[in-house]
């Protein structure tokens, strides 16, 4: 029987991973609420940004401010450009078409990354941050500052985004668009500008998430392109693509559960299923609730 001490070391690593998933999930939800687009290229953009940061850093040294800035600017520009160029023509299409178009962008970027930085069985790249070298000991392992930053950034951005949507003029416009884009436009809200702001913000989050995940997980295109999207999308689904708070909590739970079941040998090999299982459970609970509500209304 495993005791608390068996799980304790996995708590921080799970929370840190969850923090990065939260960044990604919140970015997806904000963009979805403002534009109606499920941005599946989030991981691919972040991955390419992380590779650029690695490329501009001398070998075997941590990524400095230049790498960070390059990564975030790249992700912001690519995401904004996609939103500005493809957003308006696709605005009238269904959500699935819009989501699949972003998957197209993801696959293009994935191909470019693999072409420029080919994978190899004999060697790989690794991205480290200066904050990896500082930390404190808890539960028998060193909790490094990057892990703390990942969690704190997740919390701050979730709270900040929530406050921004509630109290700022731009945030109010985004919420209005989420409710009804046509009516919001007729009220004189500059729809294109508001959408561009949402795309830009989402791109910045993709950059931050990309570089943090490359450090916490791996500078590997497959991992960054797909793992982030799967986990973040699962969190966003649990948040029903509306609630930032619920998305944040779900992302943390996904990261935590994923790492906390590691020492349980019998199910450890299946921990990569965590986002799917949690999203499926959440959707089942939600749909059951909806059916019961509808039954009550009809009665």
């Amino acid at each position: 029987m495993l005791g608390w001490s068996s799980f304790e070391p996995f708590l921080i690593s799970g929370l840190a991973l969850g923090g990065v998933y939260a960044l990604s999930g919140v970015g997806l939800v904000v963009l979805y609420r403002a534009t109606g687009v499920l941005y599946l290229a989030f991981g691919a953009v972040g991955a390419m940004g992380a590779y650029l940061a690695w490329q501009t850093t001398p070998p075997n040294t941590p990524v400095g401010p230049v790498g960070w800035i390059l990564c975030i600017v790249f992700c912001a520009v690519v995401t904004l450009a996609y939103g500005v160029i493809f957003g308006p023509p696709l605005a009238g299409r269904g959500p699935l078409v819009q989501a699949v178009c972003t998957l197209g962008l993801a696959l293009v970027l994935f191909g470019v990354v693999d072409l420029v930085w080919p994978s190899s069985g004999g060697a790989s790249r690794s991205l480290t941050l200066p904050t990896d070298n500082y930390g404190f000991v808890a539960g028998g392992v060193t909790v490094n500052t990057t892990q703390i930053i990942s969690l704190v950034v997740g919390v701050v951005l979730t709270v900040g985004t929530g406050a921004f949507l509630r109290y700022s003029k731009l945030g109010t416009a985004m919420r209005a668009m989420a409710n009804d884009r046509e009516i919001t436009a007729t009220l004189g809200v500059p729809v294109r500008r508001v959408e561009a702001a949402a795309w830009l913000g989402c791109g910045v989050l993709a950059g931050v998430a990309g570089i943090l995940l490359a450090d916490l997980s791996a500078l590997d295109d497959t991992t960054l392109v797909f793992t982030v999207v799967i986990s973040a999308l699962a969190a966003a689904l649990i948040g029903r693509l509306r609630s930032i708070t619920l998305t944040f909590v779900a992302a943390l739970v996904i990261g935590l559960v994923h790492d906390l079941i590691t020492p349980i040998t019998s199910i450890s090999d299946y921990r990569d299923m965590t986002p799917f299982v949690l999203a499926a459970i959440a959707l089942l609970v939600v749909s059951r609730g909806q059916v019961m509500t509808r039954s009550r209304e009809e009665a």
Binding site: L17, S126, N144, L216, L241
Partner: protein, 456 residues
């Protein structure tokens, strides 16, 4: 339908679409290897140091391009996210390019087809048929795949091929018509575990990629640990790893302060676990860290840094190159420097395997009198006896045996300020592993190699 219901319906539609996309993205992740590009040098890959031997040594007519009818050879390697052995095929190709530029084999150039697969049995079977029926390959050299031996073995047997590769799955060692220049994951893990046991560790945590054949691979290390009455705990990980931190914590906890962690992963995945261990301050939480042969690359030693000096011990199936001034080592580095632009991992065990396969094949092909047919080429392969390549501890013999483990003596290396250096010379893999015992009973123990490029 009222407005509220419309919104609810719309959200349900989006959620449904999102679920569909979630599944599609996962499927794309699984298939992503199909998009993997090849070629190009990984920026962090170590390059061959300044070669001391001329590439003209790889042929009998230096500087003369071979112009005869080509000898067609092929090989199949796994290349997918988290598991990539393609450097073995690309290095073999580089060796044959060098041979072709220096007179070829009895005047014939080698036309080599290095194919890659993604652990898909039907794809692997198709590639084998393509090599034989379409490309008209007369020999199979440099294959290294997770399941190729088990998928194609009966086909090679039926067509009369005696394969010369770098094995992974059990059938690469237990069948009469496939031989490997390497030890493979099981026997190399045996070597790494044997080193840990000789360091008197109290427990072993053995971890490997969750790919077909893990039970077979773990069989060796478990037999060794059991014989020494040391507990061993087996783990597997899905690759690519998504949370190396949790894996590193799990392994260090399982091994304990007087135990050892032994890894059996490709260098990129092993690096993730070791770097995670370093970031979490776990490198000193166990007595010893070990790894099977893929970790024997300077790339890994450089990426890890000095904290792992003398702490991390890697089994080396082939001759450690650091400080090796032999002609074989020089030629290997010269070929990588001149012809190895597609060898993305640079100097390391995988490229050594490709080099050794090609070198032994070239030697065998030089003995062929008359036309190069499937029959003559494979008879030459089968007749290889006591060939000393300079890359292995022992002389290499194919022979007429029901199974083949010709390389069963290993080295151990450890990182030393960015280089892998020798810490233990040729040591026989213990016969406690029943497979090794069975092979030695059948074929005896080959003599230890003392010079390179000899034999028949």
């Amino acid at each position: 339908m009222n407005r509220r219901e419309q919104r609810r319906s719309s959200r349900a539609g989006v959620a449904g679409a999102a679920v569909a996309v979630l599944v599609a993205v996962s499927a794309a992740a699984g298939c992503s290897s199909l998009n993997s590009g090849s070629g190009g040098k990984a920026a962090s890959a170590p390059t061959a140091s300044t070669p001391t031997v001329s590439t003209s040594k790889c042929g009998t007519k230096p500087g003369v391009k071979a112009t005869g009818s080509p000898i067609v050879l092929g090989g199949i390697t796994t290349k997918e996210p988290g598991t990539d052995f393609s450097d073995i095929g690309t290095t073999a190709a580089a060796y044959f390019d060098c041979v072709n530029d220096n007179g070829g084999i009895n005047g014939h150039p080698v036309k080599y087809y290095p194919e890659t697969e993604q652990t898909n049995p039907s794809q692997i079977a198709s590639l084998a048929h393509q090599l034989v029926s379409t490309d008209h390959a007369v020999g199979i050299v440099g294959s290294s795949s997770i399941i190729e031996c088990s998928v194609d073995n009966s086909y090679w047997k039926k067509e009369g091929f005696y394969v010369l590769g770098a094995g992974i799955d059990p059938e690469c060692w237990s069948t009469p018509n496939t031989i490997s220049v390497n030890m493979g994951p099981r026997y190399s893990s045996d070597g790494a575990v044997a080193h840990a046991l000789n360091s008197h560790v109290s427990k072993i945590a053995f971890d490997q990629s969750n790919v077909p054949g893990t039970t077979y691979i773990a069989g060796g290390p478990n037999a060794l640990a059991k014989a020494k009455h040391v507990p061993i705990q087996d783990f597997t990980e899905n690759v690519p790893l998504t949370s190396a931190n949790s894996v590193a914590i799990k392994l260090a906890n399982a091994a304990g302060p007087s135990g050892a962690v032994v890894l059996n992963f490709t260098p990129p995945e092993a690096l993730l676990i070791l770097q995670a261990a370093q970031k979490l301050g776990l490198e000193d939480k166990v007595k010893e860290w070990g790894c099977s042969t893929p970790c024997n690359t300077d790339f890994l030693a450089k990426a890890l840094g000095p904290k792992w000096n003398g702490k991390f011990f890697v089994n080396a199936e082939l001759t450690p190159l650091n400080g090796d001034t032999s002609q074989t080592a020089g030629l290997y580095q010269a070929i990588l420097a001149k012809y190895g632009k597609n060898v993305t991992g640079g100097v390391g065990s995988f490229s050594q395997m490709g080099f050794t396969d090609a070198e032994i094949a070239t030697h065998a092909l030089e003995t062929v009198k008359g036309a190069y047919t499937v029959k003559s080429v494979n008879a030459a392969f089968k007749n290889i006896k006591n060939y000393v390549s300079g890359m292995q501890c022992q002389a290499f013999t194919y022979g007429n045996y029901s199974e083949h483990i010709p390389n069963n003596m290993d080295y151990t290396v450890t990182p030393d300020n960015g280089k892998m250096v020798l810490t233990q010379g040729c040591t026989a893999i213990p016969s406690v592993d029943p497979q090794i015992a069975a092979y030695r009973k059948l074929a005896g123990t080959a003599p230890q190699a003392s010079s390179s490029g000899s034999g028949s």
